[in-house]
C-alpha cells in the first residue's frame, strides 16, 4: 500500500516538471543548444592528434567532420604502442592513409601546432626527493 502511494506522488512530481517545461517552451526558452562546443572548422587542414578509447593514437590532417564528431583525416599515421605496456608509446608509426574517425570512440583531439613533448615531470620530482 505504501509503495503505491509513493508511486503516485512520484507521478505527480513528474507531471509538475512536465508542466514547467511546457510553460518554458512556450516562451521560446530552449536549454543548451545542440552545437558542438569545439568548432572544428578552425582545425581544418591542420594536423591534429587524436586519442581513442582503448589507447590508440593517430596524427593526421583534418579534412572534415560532422555534428557527432566523426572526423575525416588524411595522411594519417598511427603511433604504435609497446606490446607489453600499452601506455608506452614507441617511435614506430604506421601509415593509414585516409581515415574516418568514429566520434563515439574519440577520447581527445588536440592540434599538433602548439603541442610539445616535455620530459617526464614525475621522474624529476622523484630525483629531487
Amino acid at each position: 500500500m505504501e509503495s503505491k502511494e509513493t508511486a503516485r506522488d512520484g507521478n505527480q512530481n513528474n507531471r509538475d516538471h512536465k508542466d514547467q517545461r511546457r510553460r518554458n517552451n512556450g516562451t521560446k526558452q530552449e536549454g543548451p543548444k545542440r552545437e558542438a562546443i569545439l568548432d572544428l572548422n578552425k582545425y581544418k587542414d591542420t594536423q591534429i592528434k587524436v586519442e581513442f578509447i582503448g589507447g590508440r593514437q593517430i596524427v593526421g590532417v583534418l579534412k572534415g567532420f560532422d555534428q557527432l564528431m566523426n572526423l575525416v583525416l588524411e595522411s594519417v599515421e598511427e603511433t604504435l604502442r609497446d606490446p607489453e605496456d600499452p601506455n608506452v608509446l614507441t617511435k614506430d608509426t604506421r601509415s593509414l592513409g585516409r581515415v574516418v574517425v568514429r566520434g563515439p570512440s574519440l577520447l581527445t583531439i588536440s592540434p599538433l601546432d602548439g603541442s610539445e613533448v616535455i620530459d617526464n615531470p614525475f621522474v624529476a620530482a622523484e630525483v629531487q626527493a
Binding site: 582503448g54 560532422d66 566523426n70 585516409r98 581515415v99
Partner: protein, 97 residues
C-alpha cells in the same frame, strides 16, 4: 540522423551552418568507400580488412572477404561475409588515393 548525411537545417544565425557545408562529411567518405577494400580498426587491438559492402546510421559495417588481425599479428579468415558491430569501431581506413 538526417542532419548527419545532408546539410544541417538552416539556422537563423546562418554563420555556423554555411561553414559546415564546405567540409567533407565522414559518412559520405564511408559511402564512397563502398565496393573498395577498407581496414576497420577497433578500439581494441583488432582490425578487419575486407571489401566494404554496406553500412548503416550507427556505422555497423557489412564486409566481404574479411581477414581479422589481432595485436600479435595473427590473422583469422578469410570470412566470406560479416556484419561488424559499429560499437567498437575506432577508425575506418581506406587506401584509395
Amino acid at each position: 540522423m538526417a542532419e548527419v548525411a545532408t546539410n544541417p537545417s538552416v539556422d537563423v544565425t546562418g554563420k555556423q551552418e554555411e561553414v559546415t557545408i564546405s567540409t567533407v562529411l565522414p559518412l559520405e567518405i564511408i559511402d564512397k568507400s563502398i565496393g573498395k577494400v577498407v581496414t576497420v580498426l577497433l578500439t581494441t587491438d583488432k582490425e578487419f580488412t575486407g571489401k566494404l559492402v554496406g553500412f548503416d546510421d550507427f556505422v555497423n559495417v557489412v564486409l566481404e572477404d574479411v581477414t581479422e588481425t589481432d595485436s600479435e599479428g595473427n590473422t583469422d579468415g578469410p570470412v566470406k561475409i560479416m556484419l561488424l558491430n559499429g560499437g567498437q569501431i575506432a577508425m575506418i581506413s581506406s587506401t584509395e588515393d
